[in-house]
Point group: C2
Chain length 169, copies 2
Amino acid sequence: MKLSGGVEWALHCCVVLSGVTVPVPAAKLAEFHDVSPTYLAKQLQSMSRAGLVRSVQGQAGGYVLTRSADSITVLDVVDAVDGGEPAFHCTEIRQRGPLATPVEKCVKPCAIARAMAAADRAWREALRASTIADLARDVNEDAGRDVMIGVRGWLGVPAGHPLPLHATR
Amino acid sequence: MKLSGGVEWALHCCVVLSGVTVPVPAAKLAEFHDVSPTYLAKQLQSMSRAGLVRSVQGQAGGYVLTRSADSITVLDVVDAVDGGEPAFHCTEIRQRGPLATPVEKCVKPCAIARAMAAADRAWREALRASTIADLARDVNEDAGRDVMIGVRGWLGVPAGHPLPLHATR
């Protein structure tokens, strides 16, 4: 089982976007994380299609989160980038072979598919329990300092923007 | 995120093996499930390497479970066939770029990797909570009858073998 590598990049980008006060160009996000701008552009587009980020046009343009970081879950980002398909796909093996169960008798999903779906729900529930704001807090706690001060400095964010764009709560 | 399609086949095979009293040839398992014998052979080999099934040689040879169905979890089978790697792979993005965290300061796993690992644990825990015996019971309940009677009949299992080989508990 493997998630798209873009999930890691996208989550890191969301953490950065949660801590800055101005739109951040895609090229800057790629440079900051030292990742391929082309591949990162795809993750940003996926997140934009899912309504998690939006692109602000203009000279000071770039990406911003569309809502506060505590209302974007890790699951939102994973689903946006990885597609949200369950890991297990039931091909209805029970309806095949010499003792096949007739389709009209397959009222419930197959017992095996149910067990796999329960695990999928547990996985999604765990990802839903964690938000971008949680990740940003943990990143700061790990570093023992406000990492975003350095990020804002590197991005050249002007003074007078003390709050993240979407920290409206 | 996607699991190997072999997981479904392997779980169905384990359910069948839990309900019969004699070794079942790989070709019979493939025929019963109407799946490719070549591809199924790979899943059976993976399960054999993981110690879940073993191959009995001889004219009446085939595969048997190595232990009782209530001591083989769905996770055991998934790990055997899919490899057991976590879905998320951390590439230590925090150690890259202009504000890279020095490696010696990365004492804990990255906050993002921790969130993903928590979800992985939840997924594995759910799969560990379900055994092949549970699946077999659910298959019977869904069908409203002992499906294994039909399976044993189709396999031509001789009389006088009332109990599964490994139902020793």
